[in-house]
């Protein structure tokens, strides 16, 4: 944008800011509107298309069937308790797994020796499908909440660990040298330079982990146990109650979505110092 007429800088800036603000607001409004419109469209198609094509209800139940089933699950299957249990273990597994992952990531990031010693095993474990451990954990710990918690911890652990470790290895050497020249102790260098430098990667790792946490708990509940939305899925599947399965999936998604959004909020707070992309 080029302007020929000179405008006093002070007078022009607020007006432009306001205009930009309004434009941005209009943009978010229109995307929100489009998203909602799409949702309505999909729900309508879901409601009317399968019956029109003659698909039986036990294969694809309509939206209204699902809502009716949701009411039944609420009163007869103690849906609230199942949902609460799943949410609890998702958060618990996420918290424990990411705490462990971050802690071990930082420790390995400080010790080149142990990082080299352990890296092949970390890679192997990272590749191994964590959910496949679920039956093993059930054999070891029985049909209680321990197996699903462990699967969740395990699945959350690695992305956090790997992100933190990678970030620790790429902290700006000059920044560390500066801290060294200022005579900061090893611990202070970690706390004041390395730890904050790795924050963006840690947050990215946590976001990935939050979506995996839901998967971990679900698999744990599918494989064994008698609580949680994962259990309702296998139970509903056994009864050929597709609406029940649909509802459980939706609720699982909601749990994951809430966790993810909470993290995105925390991230925006913690990383406030990163310049925001313009436009």
């Amino acid at each position: 944008m080029t302007q020929a007429t000179p405008v006093p800088a002070g007078a022009q800036a607020p007006a432009r800011k306001e205009r930009q603000g309004k434009a941005a607001m209009a943009a978010t409004h229109s995307t929100l509107f489009a998203s909602l419109a799409l949702l309505v469209l999909v729900l309508l198609a879901w409601e009317f298309l399968p019956p029109a094509l003659g698909v039986p209800k036990f294969i694809i139940p309509t939206v209204s069937d699902c809502i009716v089933e949701l009411q039944r699950m609420w009163t007869q299957e103690s849906l609230l308790a199942h949902t609460f249990s799943t949410a609890l273990y998702t958060v618990l597994g996420f918290a424990i797994g990411s705490l462990l992952g971050a802690a071990i990531g930082y420790v390995l990031g400080m010790s080149e020796f142990w990082e080299k010693v352990l890296s092949p095993y970390i890679l192997a474990l990272q590749i191994a499908p964590k959910v496949a451990f679920a039956p093993l954990f059930i054999m070891w710990f029985g049909y209680n909440s321990m197996p699903k918690l462990l699967v969740t911890v395990l699945i959350v652990f690695f992305p956090v660990l790997v992100n933190v470790l990678q970030a620790m290895k790429t902290v700006d050497r000059d920044l560390i040298n500066l801290a060294r020249a200022y005579n900061l102790s090893r611990w202070r260098i970690f706390r004041k330079v390395e730890m904050p430098s790795t924050m963006p990667s840690l947050m990215a790792g946590l976001r990935i982990a939050s979506t995996l946490a839901v998967i971990g708990v679900t698999v744990g509940e599918l494989v064994g146990g008698n609580t949680g939305l994962g259990f309702l899925i296998s139970y509903g599947g056994g009864q050929a109650n597709a609406a029940m399965v649909f509802n459980a999936i939706v609720l699982l998604t909601v749990i994951g979505f809430v966790l993810y959004s909470a993290l995105a909020r925390v991230e925006a707070r913690v990383l406030h110092y990163l310049p925001k992309a313009q436009g």
Binding site: A181, Y182, N183, R188, K192, V193, Y273
Partner: protein, 256 residues
């Protein structure tokens, strides 16, 4: 004598296992309050001299003395500044300036007072609560200088602090740095590729050879206004001095 290099040689072991001599048998002295520049071809070991002064690593042979004491590791006598401002992006400007003071047990209120005074001196008053990304490149370098001066070092080491800036900002910043440094009477070692910059800002210039770097010439800049490069810039002798360095670097031969 604020800084002394006594026949310093530094060798590095490369990844392939060969020995690489970065600087060889370098000796020089920087007196208290003096502003000395080091020029030399790329890779001749200029930054290596700086790192050894800061105590980040030790010479292979010889010794480096700061205020008469042999440098054995990082110490509080030396403040350094690079082409990158190395400001911590998660801290606002004033707490960035305080960073160097935090390891020395200066009480928080004192730290803040000193940091604010340095910001004032570096013409950044009013920006203390901004974050680095909100400042221009020149302002960030001034903040880095404020951080360097806040620890009250005996020697200030500058490694190409202006080379990432555009020509105009560079001139203004050279002027403001020179003023600030003269006012604080700090002994300064400036590493630069810019021959004019060396002439405009220094009392004395050391010219290094190609790697392994050794001191091939020492030029005393006998001109007034060291604290005001913009004024010195108008003097006709400046280009003579630059020409002299130019010849020592044997740039004509290389141009063929």
């Amino acid at each position: 004598m604020a800084l002394e290099f006594r026949s310093v040689t530094k060798e590095f072991l490369t990844r392939s296992g060969e020995v690489l001599t970065a600087v060889s048998d370098v000796s020089f002295v920087v007196n208290e309050g003096e502003f000395v520049s080091v020029v030399g071809p790329s890779g001749c070991g200029k930054s290596t001299l700086l790192s050894m002064t800061a105590g980040l690593y030790q010479p292979t042979q010889g010794e480096v003395l700061v205020s008469g004491e042999v440098v054995r590791g990082p110490n509080g006598h030396v403040g350094f500044m690079l082409q990158k401002d190395l400001l911590l992006p998660w801290r606002n400007i004033v707490s960035n300036v305080e960073f160097g003071l935090e390891a020395r047990g200066v009480p928080a209120a004192d730290r803040r007072r000193r940091a604010m005074a340095e910001l004032e001196r570096c013409h950044l008053a009013g920006f203390e609560n901004h974050f680095p990304y909100q400042l221009s490149g020149g302002m960030r370098q001034r903040a880095a200088l404020a951080r360097t001066l806040a620890i009250e070092p005996e020697i200030v080491l500058l490694d190409e602090p202006f080379s990432a800036l555009d020509a105009q900002t560079k001139l203004l910043l050279q002027n403001s740095f020179a003023g600030t440094i003269a006012e604080s009477r700090k002994t300064t070692l400036l590493i630069t590729h810019d021959l004019a910059e060396a002439v405009l800002m220094s009392d004395r210039i050391l010219v290094l050879s190609e790697r392994p770097g050794r001191v091939v010439a020492e030029i005393v800049v006998d001109l007034p206004h060291r604290d005001e490069p913009l004024r010195r810039r108008t003097m006709p002798e400046v280009s003579d001095y630059a020409g002299q360095i130019f010849r020592h670097l044997k740039l004509e031969e290389k141009a063929i």
